[in-house]
Amino acid sequence: MSQVLVVTSGKGGVGKTTTTAALGAALAHDGAKVVVIDFDVGLRNLDLVLGAERRVVFDLINVINGVAKLPQALIRDKRIENLHLLPASQTRDKDALTQEGVEKVIDELREKFDWIICDSPAGIERGATLAMRYADAAIIVTNPEVSSVRDSDRIIGILDAKTAKAERGERVDKHLLITRYSAAAAARGEMLTIDDVLEILSCPLLGIVPEGKEVLRASNVGSPVTLNDPQSAPARAYFDAARRLKGEQVPMVVQGATRSIFTKLFARKAA
């Protein structure tokens, strides 16, 4: 049974593409067949973050228009063979992305993959609404910052109203993923805490990804952080989130957070 996920946020720059790549690789790492789709027509970047930018021949719109067959457009990852990318078109008109076309592509992908992850563009325009349209579940990527939280609230409203599931009277499962979190800044009262964000958005938490230089380093070299630096705190957070998506119970911890002074003192004594 395949699962269609949309990675969305409303606001740009919060980590949707990073998250799509990291979760896609983490899920594929365990043997599942995964495809990640870039819906950002005209501003594609998932290919770049995955290090496949030089291998793009056909794209999502080519498939919709019938210029290419789906298997021709899919790019297989060189590191994990069961991870695939369907890139967005860089040049073509955004209107070429049609609802019927997207539905047909997703239906075809459902037959071949366990996980279909749609990387939404920022905003609430066509690309964003089509990315979420056929989703079974949504990952809402939020930074602990006012504008991101506000836009996430808006996106949650749209997920409940404008998706195919919502129109059938069903619900799109919603998972909140808080990224670029700093436990130290939150403890100092300089950043919204996890509890603050959860209370405001009242949405189940999928994971907490701490701010880390490993995320930038991974995008610099074109590799998902979960592959490039699997032991880093952000990667461990993404692996935890991937396990929760599969239904496993994983304790919610902030990976890599400095332990409190008490535990530090205690650990030193014990050592």
Binding site: D153, G189, L192, I200
Partner: protein
């Protein structure tokens, strides 16, 4: 944690409160997105029956608070015409 929070001096509590107020309004406002525009039109229509004023000299301000919001309508009415309107 809540005990520690008393000593927090950062700006995060302000962010939290601003978001709570804003989103409480935005969630209800989606049913009636143009409430302010409708109010403005109807208020001006009623006033227009009694006094003459320039539509450009009307300022509508709203301040959304936690438990109450205020709507302030500031209309500049020229003195001479008002006198005429009252006399008529």
């Amino acid at each position: 944690m809540s005990f520690l929070r008393l000593f927090r001096s950062g700006s995060a509590p302000i962010a939290r409160e601003r978001l709570q107020i804003l989103l409480a309004h935005e969630r209800t406002a989606t049913d009636q997105p143009d409430l302010l525009a409708v109010l403005r039109e109807e208020i001006l229509a009623v006033l227009g029956r009694h006094v003459a004023f320039e539509p450009d000299k009307v300022q509508i301000k709203v301040d959304r608070g936690k438990s109450v919001s205020t709507l302030a309508v500031d209309i500049e009415i020229p003195n001479s015409r008002t006198a005429g309107a009252l006399a008529a």
